[in-house]
């Protein structure tokens, strides 16, 4: 295994880490308006309060690692998706501000406005991630220098929009699972219990439709299974994880349900990586223009140095991420320092 492959896997892990972790707090945002009273809305925000910021760092580190390991792909993706990424930045900043400032003033108008902001920005960010994934799956037009030559409208194809909706449903489901775990027992938690079912059902429908659409429309996505038949195990794991969600909810094991939705997301990220492999950006017009893990990579020396940096840093990152989650374990309570 060479370093290029190693970095492809590492980026996959960072992306999976991001999707699983920020997925539930984006999901909590998508479900935010279900809570009607101020207390319930504060409970929602405080359930993700101490950790959403750290979760977002996975995205930033993913971006930085992509820049360092595959600068050609970083440049193409970020400049090609200019408008969607600006919208994403708008959503991420607006969301941070909504969470941070909502409860600083007592006015109902102030709080209502930030509640809408939190909901809207979480929804928009999740949708845009899905659109980006969808476009990566179908490929985008690139010129011989590897620069994007398409249009904004071209990025909003039916497949990309469908991927956007699927990610929204997936994060909403994951968020519902998380809230079910973290909210104090009572009315609100019961209602979220119902939403676990709604969001799971919606995700299931979109997941099945999306899988069929992919099989029909993107033959390249499944080509890698012929070379790597063992990957079918991940598909089976994925299906089992999806099926285990209602089972664990029914048996009143919310933590197991949350882990299952996390595994579902990780399996999907894996399948996404496998569908792309060995491309990072697939050129829809001419396969020769595609950016692969070899022609888009940094020099072997940089890949090696970056590998040492990641190998030194990530154990620390994981250990204090766990320490922070451990500190804030248990069901959420409203305290004087809460949002």
């Amino acid at each position: 295994m060479d370093l290029n492959v190693g970095w492809f896997i590492l980026l996959g892990l960072l992306l999976a880490g991001y999707a699983v972790l920020d997925g539930f707090d984006l999901g909590a945002g998508i479900l935010h308006l279900i809570a009607r009273t101020d207390r319930d809305r504060r409970l929602f925000m405080n359930a993700i309060g101490p950790i959403w910021d750290g979760n977002e760092v996975w995205l930033i580190t993913f971006g930085g690692a992509l820049f360092a390991a595959f600068p050609m792909a970083y440049a193409t993706i970020f400049s090609g998706f200019y408008v969607p990424f600006m919208a994403l930045l708008f959503a991420l900043i607006f969301r941070a501000v909504s969470i941070e400032f909502r409860s600083k003033m007592a006015s109902a108008f102030w709080r209502g406005a930030w509640d809408m902001g939190f909901f809207g920005s979480s929804l928009l960010a999740s949708f845009l991630f899905g659109v980006a994934v969808g476009n990566s799956m179908i490929g985008i037009p690139l010129n011989e220098r590897g620069a994007f030559t398409g249009t904004l409208v071209g990025l909003l194809s039916p497949y990309a929009l469908m991927a956007g909706l699927t990610v929204v449903a997936m994060f909403a489901m994951h968020g519902a699972m998380y809230l079910f775990l973290k909210l104090p027992k009572g009315d609100m938690q019961d209602r979220i219990g119902n939403w676990v079912w709604h969001t799971w059902g919606l995700f299931l429908v979109l997941y099945v439709l999306g899988s069929m659409y992919t099989l029909v429309a993107i033959p390249r996505a499944t080509a890698n299974f012929e070379r790597h038949p063992w990957a079918a195990a991940i598909v089976i794991l994925n299906v089992l994880a999806v099926a285990n969600i209602p089972r664990s909810v029914f048996r009143n094991k919310p933590f197991q349900a949350f882990v299952s939705s996390g595994v579902t997301i990780m399996a999907l990220v894996f399948l996404f990586g496998l569908a792309l492999w060995p491309n990072l950006v697939t050129a829809s017009n001419d396969p020769a223009h595609s950016l692969t893990i070899y022609n888009a990579a940094s020099s072997p020396k940089t890949l090696w140095i970056m590998f040492i940096i990641a190998a030194t840093g990530m154990p620390f990152v994981l250990s204090y991420t766990i320490a922070v989650y451990w500190t804030f374990r248990g069901r959420v309570e409203l305290r004087e320092h809460s949002y």
Binding site: G54, A68, A75, G80, K104, R145, I309, T321
Partner: protein
Amino acid sequence: MFDVVVLSRLQFALTIMFHYLFPPLTIGMGVVLVYLEGMYLWRREAIYETAARFWTSLYAVSFAVGVATGIVMEFEFGTNWAAYSRFVGDVFGSALAAEGIFAFFLESGFLAVLVFGWDRVTTRFHFVATIMVSLGSIFSSIWIVVANSWQQTPAGHRVTAVLRDGQPWIVDGITVLRAELVDFWTAVLNPSTLNRLTHTLIGAFVLGSFFIMSISAYYLLRGQHEDFARRSFTGGLLFATIASLAALVSGDSNARMVARYQPAKLAAFERHFNTGPANFFFIPGGLSLMLEGDRRAEVVGLDRIRPEYRPPVLPSYWSFRLMVGLGVFFIAITLYASWLRWRGTLFEKRWVLWVFVLAVAGAFAANELGWAAAEVGRQPWIVHPGVGHNEAGRIVFDTDGFVQYRLEEGLLTRNAVSESVDRSEVLGSILMFGLMYALLFWIWIYVLNDKIQKGPQPVHARERTTTQSFFDTAAGRTLHEESLSEAKEP
């Protein structure tokens, strides 16, 4: 006139200057928080905890805005400067990724403990978390200054053809080039890194301490929280005096470095058009004296820089001049205030306190102006090419008398933008950032003001009357549950 290059530069300037209001403030304040929590652990006096909680609440709001606006910066290298990213990714990307792995996780993880952990973790663990956040923000500044310094004075790399299937990659008859890392530590410790990092951190300490003095002076003028304000002001003043003096020393050292590696920038700072003895401000021959120890020594002027490689003179000149002017003002005012404090009359001099209430604006401005001078002075290059030096370390000139650049190492800003992005898209995003940052700025000021008006809340009255340390320890944890340091509206 307003093409993609100009608009992308405008957008970068807008977003970085707004972002940069926050990092130096939080880096500077972080050190103070570590001190306060350390003192509380050691002395167990309630006032330290009261102070730590109050400043942490202001710190956290500023930190949050800094993080939110920081994401934009990382995206913009790719969105607006794709050609630049392709050229420098091998070197610059590594520093950025290291920042993510070593700094961002540390900051964001422990910031949660800092803000939400008061009544969930022990005082000792809270102290550790404060150190971690403070260290994280310093690590962050190290990596980003490393990355930026490499753009100013590149080292430890070579510019070479991009290979595809082992062959140089040629598009339309042009070989695609990029910078590749040769020696990591040489790139990290390039000729300007240490000078610029020191100056950046000192700037942050100046801002952090002036921020604390500004709010304390405001309380003193209004006769509120006087004990707290006097102690905070005194601590801030000591820190600010040392930092202001250090800025002078480090600034001098930076000037020598710039003279050697970026002569065009230094000439623009001083509007030094004709090679020969150079002035420093109004001191004839001052710059020559500083650099060479001789007032008549020759300093390279803009006349020895090829016209197409000269930076915009007026913005460089004014931002540099104002930064230095503010630095001198900080030294004067902190020394004067220290003298008054020593004589014990400082807190009676209302006009001095008023100066300190307002001086924090100058500290923000000095940090911004320093960076504006550094970045505008680098133009028209986005990656500055190396300057030829002879064995004695003197600048080498081409046969036609102009400063010799290793041109293949440099990248011009106008060649660095994204080819997939057009004017209207950048115009749209500038508008978006402009509106959003205006809103963000307003909210930040509003919330800061709200917290300042409420003021520090005494942690607990009992602690001050209890003398037995026995009680302190026993009460240490439970007292937190009842404290009011950051009361929320119900």
